[in-house]
């Protein structure tokens, strides 16, 4: 198999510049300062942990390294594992876990990496011009919603970093035609796939890109088959098969993540009302609002302008295809929302914000396209344009922050508000109980967050055997000191502990010590 192009090397293959490029370092430093400042700001405003899911990610990572039955099986079968595994680097420390900073650290590092990678990616298009790449990278870094998201333990930022890495290496392969770049793109795609399920779609798109790029670069079909095999193996199949195998080994169902009891599909099925309800128009409106709210119309408009210029100038060149492939995430989201695979809110008076973070990924192609747009300006206007774009968008972000218009922080704050019954029950557990706690973790993550190390839940094992069913049948025999039940409500699945033990004689050794409209907590009475 020939992995170098039969065509003559292009200008981009010229010898590396004599002067080392210090701009990535500068961009990285700026991103680091922004990252630390933002995390500090939201930490002080107690919003590092806001999203319900941010607690889930951290709890999973904590259970892998601590608690009653630590181990790889605690990764669970729904959330993809890489963000939690990365958080394990920090969440072994209870303080970092409890404050949420264990998750923030991962997102922050990913944010800096993504910013630097964006710089390097745009440089592949702009050649020796640094300012367009600086502008593109900083457009990404100064976005106020990106800065909020990188302060949290959510999985978006690791996904963005690996996705940008995949695009970067694919474009680099188109430019330099080194097989190692294709391999690196495959590994990046593999890691992105193990962060968020959108990565699975993009992995398929990138595979198609490789095939088309191969043709555009002049490879033979035989070579293209080999190149596609590398990409498919590392960038698609390894992750998919690995995750399916894990699900099979742990849950006995290779597709547990897709059709299991806590999967996204199961959760969507439990929703009594679908906001989008199969409407293309509503899906488009919902996602359009999400993008516009996350990025702002100026950034969207600049990106659209950049796309027009990009299409006109690149004319579907090989190196342009990964960027265009990345753009397909937008219609993919619209389709997913329309199909009911995910929910998103549509603006309405006093409405809840729901999943506006889905629109944030548009910042990745937008940053690339804006950098590209600046790079196409006459040389004498480059620096002023780059500064104007960066400072202008930074000013809009600053204005948004000053006016409390950071949509993702608002969404997280709304989410946090709705968790108050859980917060109060969780605080009671911390302050007034000791010993093992029995609870159903689903929809009770926030209750268990601070006491996760002494929580018996459906993933707790002993001597390799899952004890959940046995504990539910006789909690006293297993030394359960505290039993937590969520009272039934129409918009949540039935709490398993409530279903098994409410009004049961097994509760006789326990005394009701906490009652709220949502929770009952029982404590074992002294013998």
């Amino acid at each position: 198999m020939v992995l170098t192009s039969p065509r003559a090397a292009g200008p981009a293959e010229a010898e590396p510049a004599v002067r080392p490029d210090r701009a990535p370092l500068a961009v990285g430093l700026v991103a680091t300062v922004l990252s630390v400042a933002s995390t500090w700001y939201y930490f002080r405003h107690q919003l590092v942990l806001g999203y319900h899911d941010s607690f889930s990610h951290l709890e999973i990572s904590r259970r892998v390294v601590a608690g009653l039955s630590p181990g790889i099986a605690q990764l669970g079968g729904v959330w993809l594992p890489v963000p939690q595994l990365l958080e394990d680097l920090f969440s072994w420390n209870y303080t970092l876990y409890r404050t949420g900073l264990a998750g923030s650290a991962v997102s922050m590092a990913s944010f800096v990496a993504a910013t630097v990678l964006l710089y390097r990616l745009i440089r592949l298009f702009t050649g020796d011009l640094r300012w367009p790449a600086i502008a593109g990278a900083l457009v990404f870094a100064v976005n106020v919603n990106m800065l909020y998201q990188q302060s949290t333990s959510m999985d978006e930022l690791p996904f963005y970093a690996f996705t940008i890495a995949a695009v970067y290496y694919l474009v680099r392969w188109a430019e330099l035609r080194k097989a190692t770049d294709l391999l690196a793109a495959g590994v990046s795609s593999m890691l992105a796939m193990l962060c968020r399920y959108e990565g699975w779609f993009l992995a398929g798109v990138f595979l198609i890109c490789v095939i088309v790029m191969g043709r555009r670069l002049g490879y033979s079909w035989r070579d293209i088959r080999g190149l596609a095999l590398i990409t498919a193996t590392f960038g698609l199949l390894a992750s998919a098969a690995g995750w399916a195998l894990y699900n099979y080994l742990i849950f006995g169902n290779a597709l547990n993540f897709e059709n299991g009891p806590d999967s996204s599909a199961a959760q969507m099925a439990q929703r009594h009302t679908s906001i989008i309800d199969g409407s293309w128009l509503l899906a488009l409106k919902g996602y359009g609002y999400a993008i516009a709210s996350d990025l702002g119309l100026v950034m969207v408009a600049l990106a659209v302008a950049g796309l027009i210029v990009f299409l006109a100038c690149e004319r579907f060149s090989a190196r342009s295809l990964p960027v265009l492939g990345l753009l397909t995430i937008v219609p993919f989201y619209v389709y997913s929302l329309k199909a009911g695979a995910e929910p998103i809110s549509v603006p309405q008076p006093y409405g809840f914000l729901l999943n506006y973070r889905f629109g944030l990924i548009a910042a990745l192609p937008a940053a690339i396209l804006i950098g590209y747009l600046v790079g196409r300006l006459p040389r004498r206007g480059l620096i002023p344009a780059a500064l104007a774009v960066t400072l202008g968008l930074a000013a809009l972000s600053g204005l948004s922050l000053a006016r409390h218009q950071v949509v993702l922080a608002t969404e997280a704050a709304q989410d946090l508000s709705s968790q108050q019954p859980q917060v109060q029950a969780g605080a009671f557990l911390v302050q007034h109980t000791s010993g093992l706690i029995l609870l159903d973790i689903v929809q009770n993550e926030r209750v268990a967050f601070a006491v996760v190390d002494r929580t018996v839940y459906d993933g707790t094992k002993e001597s390799g055997h899952n004890q959940w069913t046995a504990v539910l049948q006789n909690p006293g025999a297993f030394g359960i000191q505290v039993i937590v039940m969520r009272l039934p409500s129409s918009n949540e699945p039935l709490d398993v502990v409530y279903g098994a033990l409410h009004d049961s004689p097994l509760l006789r050794p326990y005394r009701l010590v906490y009652r709220s409209p949502s929770y009952l907590i029982y404590s074992r009475q002294p013998a």
Binding site: S293, P488, S490
Partner: protein, 378 residues
């Protein structure tokens, strides 16, 4: 090439300007208009809760709707949802009070005991939940056990107000035993009033028994203990109700013609009220039930429930409500409740509402109720 580039940039700029002009969106990152709250609206189990407006809450008058709880066989979560939905409707009508009526039973015309029937009588826990739900809406809540007279009527056409217990004191003991957990539930939920006697007119003279019930109830429930007599007993002007200034379930046969106007009906209402009580007493009287079937001829006997399927004449009900309201304002009554909404009703579904019994006012007389509650009260 420069020309093409210039045209492209101009096109891009045009697009940018067009996009920036989109209504409701911001140049920079922003929260959609109206969605920027961070303190959530009040919710119960995920359903938004409407709250009584402050001016209405401040009124002395009780402006209410009686809700008959006929879904005791549903799950707790379902009943919670029904409560939230019905109470939202009640608040939407401008009410500041709601009565939660629920059935209990006694064994016939000559009864010996009082009991609840699972599936028909909501449990005390459900009542506590519903009371708390109503209070979360900012409503005053009257808990109102209502003796079901289905088995009382069966033989001789008697009703709850004509029972003759074989042993009155024994029956009262049973009654108090039945009420006790509901009084506790009302207290736990934060109810503002509890109906210890609703239309038990034949027992009105049992002063000693009522005193014992009232005394025991007062140790369990710190809100107002109320009693309501039916219009028949009320218009006999006899003394003897378990609490002073008993409320009135008002179905007066005013003798009005079918096409009577609202002023005519109002005059008849005012005349009837003033004929039976002095002004001072009326100012302490609450009409605990004002209702009528929306059918022609209903003025002759407003208490009679027209059978399902009877052709509707909505004007009859609307005019009756408007007249009762005007009369209540004229005579400065302490308040009035319109009767009734069932817990199984869905006020948001006009198609379903069209099939409700003739006595229902959903999508019929309810805008008159809203207008009634909207002004003229202190």
């Amino acid at each position: 090439m420069t020309g093409i580039r210039g045209r492209l940039l101009a096109l891009a700029a045009t697009l940018a300007v067009t996009l920036c002009g989109c209504a409701g969106l911001s140049a920079g990152p922003a929260v959609p208009v109206g969605n920027d709250w961070t303190t959530p609206p009040p919710m119960i189990d995920g359903t938004p809760v409407s709250e009584v407006a402050a001016p209405s809450a401040r009124l002395t008058a009780d402006l209410g709707i009686q809700v008959y709880w006929n879904t005791a066989d549903a799950t707790r979560a379902r009943q919670q949802d029904e409560g939230t939905q019905i109470f939202n409707y009640v608040v939407g009508l401008g009410a500041n009070s709601v009565g939660i009526d629920f059935p209990f039973f006694t064994d016939g015309e000559y009864p010996t005991r009082v009991y609840g029937v699972p599936g028909s009588t909501p449990s005390p826990a459900i009542i506590a939940m519903l009371v708390a739900n109503g209070r979360a809406h900012g409503l005053r809540v009257l808990v109102r056990p209502l003796l079901d007279d289905g088995n009382i009527m069966a033989v001789n056409g008697d009703w709850r107000g004509s029972i003759r217990p074989r042993s009155v004191s024994s029956w009262f003991r049973s009654y108090l035993g039945f009420l006790t957990p509901y009084l506790r539930a009302a207290q736990a939920g934060g109810a503002t009033a509890f109906g210890i006697d609703t239309e038990l007119d034949s027992l009105a003279g049992q002063a000693g028994d009522w005193a014992r019930v009232r005394s025991a109830a007062a140790t369990l429930f710190t809100g107002q203990l109320v009693s309501a007599v039916n219009y028949g007993l009320w218009q006999q002007d006899k003394p003897g109700e378990p609490v002073p200034d008993a409320a009135l379930d008002a179905y007066p046969p005013l003798g009005a013609a079918s096409g009577a106007t609202v002023p005519t009906l109002t005059a008849a209402w005012v005349s009837w009220l003033r004929r039976h009580r002095p002004a001072q007493a009326l100012e302490k009287t609450v009409l605990q039930e004002v209702g009528i079937s929306a059918v022609a001829g209903a003025y002759a006997a407003p208490a009679i429930t027209a059978p399902d399927g009877t052709p509707l004449d909505v004007t009859v009900q609307r005019d009756w409500f408007a007249a009762a309201c005007a009369a209540a304002k004229t005579t400065r009554l302490a308040g009035l409740y319109f009767f009734d909404v069932n817990s199984s009703d869905n006020p948001l579904d006009p198609v379903a509402a069209a099939r409700y019994a003739p006595g229902s006012f959903i999508d019929r007389g309810d805008d008159v109720i809203k207008a009634c509650f909207g002004s003229g009260w202190s």
